[in-house]
C-alpha cells in the first residue's frame, strides 16, 4: 500500500505536468479573479517544496519537527540578505541559501541523535522560538520585527514580477522537489531512513550509521525548506517574523499527516488540501461557520485544521493518499469487489 514500487504506472505524469503548466491559462479563461487563485497556488507550491522535505524527515525517518517554519524563515532571510545586501545574483542564492539552511538542519540534527518523539518535537519547537528572537535581534540586516522588503526574482535577466510569472517559477521547482524527494525516498538512503523509523536497533545491526543518517535527514529536509524559503521571500516581496509563526510549523505537520505520512504524493495532496481549505474555503464559509457555531471572530482555521487532523488520525491514519489507493483498488475490482466500503 505504499507508493514506492517500481511497477507504478508513470504515463500520466507527463500529462499532469503539462496540465500544471496549462492551469493558469484555463483559470484566466474561466474567472476574472484568476490572480487570487494563482496566488493561492503559488503558496501551495512553496509549501509543497517544504512539506515533501518534511515528509522525508518526519514521515520517512520518524523524526518529528515542529520547527520547520524556522527553516523557512532562515531560508527567506538568508536569501534576502544575500541578494539585496551582499549583492549575489538570485540564481546563485537559489543554490547557496538552501545549503546554508541545510547546515542549520545539520546542527539541529545533533540533539536528534539522543532524543526522539515528543521531546524532539519540543526541541525543534524551541529552535523555532530562538530563530524568531535572533531574527529580531540582528536588526542591522533583518530590520527587526518591522519586516524586510525583498527584490523580485531575476533569472538570466528575466524578472518575475507578477503571480502569473511566479506560478511558472514555483511550479517548476515544486515538480523538481517532488521528483527529487521521490528519488531519495526510493533510494538506499530512503530505505535507511525508513529502517531507522521502524527499528533503530535493527537498522544499526544491519550496518546503518544512525548518527550519519539522522543528520542527513535533517540536512536534506533543511535544503528543501531553504529552497521554499528563497522562493517565498522573493515572490512575496515582503517578509517579517510574523510569517514564520509556530502555528505554521504545526500546519506543516498537519499537511504531512493529512496527506499520509511517508508518501511523497501524500504530502503534496495534504498540502494542497490544507492550503486550498485555508485560502479558498474558509474565507467563503467563515461567516456561515461562525453563525453555525455561534462564535464571534476567533481563529476558524485552527479550529478546523485541528478537527481535520483529529478525524484523520482516528479514521484515516494513512491519509488522503491511502484513501486514494483504497479507492483505486475498489474501482479496479469493480463488479467483483468484496462488500467492504472503501473509505
Amino acid at each position: 500500500m505504499k507508493g514506492r514500487y517500481e511497477d507504478e504506472n508513470l504515463t500520466w505524469i507527463p500529462i499532469l505536468i503539462v496540465g500544471i503548466f496549462l492551469l493558469p491559462f484555463v483559470l484566466k479563461g474561466l474567472t476574472y479573479s484568476y490572480k487570487y487563485y494563482l496566488f493561492v497556488l503559488n503558496m501551495a507550491g512553496i509549501y509543497i517544496i517544504l512539506t515533501v522535505g518534511l515528509d522525508l524527515l518526519s514521515g520517512y525517518t520518524g523524526l518529528i519537527s515542529l520547527g520547520h517554519a524556522a527553516f523557512l524563515a532562515i531560508g527567506s532571510y538568508t536569501s534576502a540578505i544575500l541578494v539585496d545586501q551582499v549583492g549575489i545574483p538570485f540564481v546563485f542564492s537559489l543554490f547557496i541559501s538552501p545549503l546554508i539552511v541545510g547546515l542549520f538542519g545539520f546542527i539541529i540534527g545533533f540533539p536528534a541523535l539522543r532524543i526522539t518523539g515528543m521531546y524532539l518535537g519540543l526541541t525543534t519547537m524551541g529552535f523555532g522560538f530562538i530563530v524568531k528572537r535572533l531574527i529580531i535581534a540582528f536588526r542591522e540586516w533583518t530590520q527587526g520585527a518591522g519586516g524586510l522588503e525583498v527584490s523580485f526574482p531575476i533569472i538570466f535577466g528575466y524578472t518575475f514580477k507578477s503571480d502569473w510569472d511566479n506560478y511558472f517559477l514555483i511550479s517548476a521547482f515544486a515538480i523538481l522537489a517532488v521528483v527529487v524527494s521521490r528519488r531519495i525516498g526510493k533510494s538506499k538512503i530512503g530505505r535507511a531512513f525508513m529502517a531507522i523509523r521502524d527499528s533503530e536497533q535493527a537498522a544499526e545491526a544491519s550496518g546503518v550509521n544512525l548518527a550519519k543518517y539522522k543528520m542527513l535527514a535533517f540536512f536534506i529536509s533543511g535544503i528543501f525548506a531553504g529552497l521554499a524559503g528563497v522562493l517565498f521571500a522573493h515572490t512575496s516581496h515582503f517578509i517579517s517574523t510574523d510569517h514564520f509563526d509556530i502555528l505554521l510549523s504545526i500546519y506543516f505537520i498537519i499537511m504531512v499527516l493529512v496527506g499520509g505520512a511517508s508518501s511523497i504524493y501524500g504530502a503534496v495532496l495534504g498540502t494542497l488540501f490544507i492550503v486550498l481549505l485555508d485560502y479558498l474555503f474558509v474565507p467563503e464559509m467563515k461567516g456561515w461557520i461562525q453563525e453555525f457555531l455561534n462564535i464571534e471572530g476567533g481563529d476558524i482555521q485552527s479550529l478546523l485544521f485541528g478537527l481535520i487532523m483529529f478525524l484523520f488520525i482516528i479514521f484515516q491514519p494513512t491519509g488522503l493518499y491511502g484513501m486514494w489507493l483504497k479507492m483505486r483498488i475498489y474501482w479496479k475490482l469493480f463488479p467483483f469487489n468484496p462488500k467492504k466500503k472503501f473509505i
Binding site: 523509523r197 537498522a203 544499526e204 544491519s206 550496518g207
Partner: protein, 246 residues
C-alpha cells in the same frame, strides 16, 4: 574466532555484565543459557556494538572490536538477529532484505544474495512485495535471519529466535539453525528453550546475573545438577504447605 575477556557493560549506572569471558571457535555453535535479565541479550548487543563495554576486550579473528561502531563490526562479518524479530515492519520483504545487505556496494551482488535468500525460504519470494509486518511470526523470524545472512556473516548472533512462536515453528526454526550451522556458519545462540538449544549446540555457557556460572559441552552441562534443576525443570518439588512453613 570470537573471544571476550572480562567484559563489563553498564546501562547508565546499572551494571549488566560483571566481567564475562567466553570464546567461540570457528565452525562451532555456541549457546548462552540463562534466566530473564541475566544479560544474555546484553552480551550480543555488546559484541555487535549496539552498546559499548566499559571494561574488557572483545577480539574477532584477532582484531579488537570493542568500542567500534556497529557499522564496522557488521562489515567485519558479524550478523546480528535482534530479539523479538526486529524486522522493519513497514518495509516490504524485499526492502527488508536489501536493508540486510546495506553495506554491500555492488548492486548485482546484492540481488544475487537476495535470490539466494529466496531459495533458502521460497515462501518469502511470493511475498516479496508484502509489507513485512503483516506476515506471521515464523515468517518474520525467518526474514530476520535471512536479513542477517545477506552479508554472509562469518559469525551469526541469534537472539532468542524461538520467542513467541508456536511449537511447530520453533521446530522449523531450529532445523534452519542446524542447517545453517552445517553449511559452515559459526553461530552464537541465545535461547530460553534450553533443551532444544543444548541439543544442537557444541558448547554452552550458563549465565546468571551478568556472570558466567558454568560452561561445558552438551553432555557436561546436562550432567550438571544445577542446570538440570534451574533450566530443565528437573528440580526437587516441595509441598505447597511446606513453602509457607519455610
Amino acid at each position: 574466532m570470537l573471544k571476550l575477556v572480562g567484559v563489563e557493560t553498564f546501562y547508565g549506572k546499572i551494571k549488566a555484565l560483571h566481567g564475562v569471558s567466553l570464546e567461540v571457535k570457528e565452525g562451532q555453535l555456541v549457546t548462552i543459557l540463562g534466566a530473564n535479565g541475566a544479560g544474555k541479550t546484553t552480551i550480543l548487543k555488546t559484541i555487535s556494538g549496539l552498546v559499548e563495554p566499559e571494561h574488557g576486550t572483545i577480539h574477532f579473528n584477532g582484531q579488537r572490536i570493542d568500542g567500534e561502531d556497529s557499522e564496522k563490526i557488521v562489515a567485519l562479518g558479524i550478523g546480528h538477529v535482534p530479539e523479538w524479530r526486529r524486522i522493519f515492519p513497514e518495509l516490504t520483504v524485499e526492502e527488508n532484505l536489501l536493508m540486510g545487505g546495506f553495506l554491500i556496494k555492488e548492486k548485482e551482488l546484492l540481488y544475487e544474495r537476495m535470490e539466494e535468500a529466496f531459495r533458502h525460504f521460497p515462501i518469502l519470494e511470493k511475498r516479496k512485495k508484502q509489507i513485512a509486518g503483516t506476515m506471521s511470526g515464523g515468517e518474520q523470524q525467518m526474514l530476520a535471519i535471512l536479513r542477517a545472512l545477506m552479508i554472509r556473516p562469518k559469525l551469526l548472533l541469534l537472539d532468542e529466535p524461538s520467542l513467541g512462536l508456536s511449537p511447530i515453528l520453533v521446530r522449523d526454526i531450529f532445523t534452519t539453525i542446524k542447517d545453517l550451522h552445517q553449511s559452515g556458519v559459526t553461530i552464537l545462540l541465545v535461547e530460553q528453550n534450553v533443551n532444544r538449544a543444548l541439543s544442537i549446540a557444541d558448547y554452552g555457557y550458563v549465565l546468571t546475573t551478568g556472570k558466567i556460572l558454568l560452561s561445558g559441552t552438551y553432555e557436561e552441562l546436562l550432567n550438571e545438577e544445577k542446570v538440570r534443576e534451574q533450566y530443565l525443570g528437573e528440580g526437587k518439588y516441595m509441598r505447597r504447605s511446606k513453602l509457607w512453613s519455610g
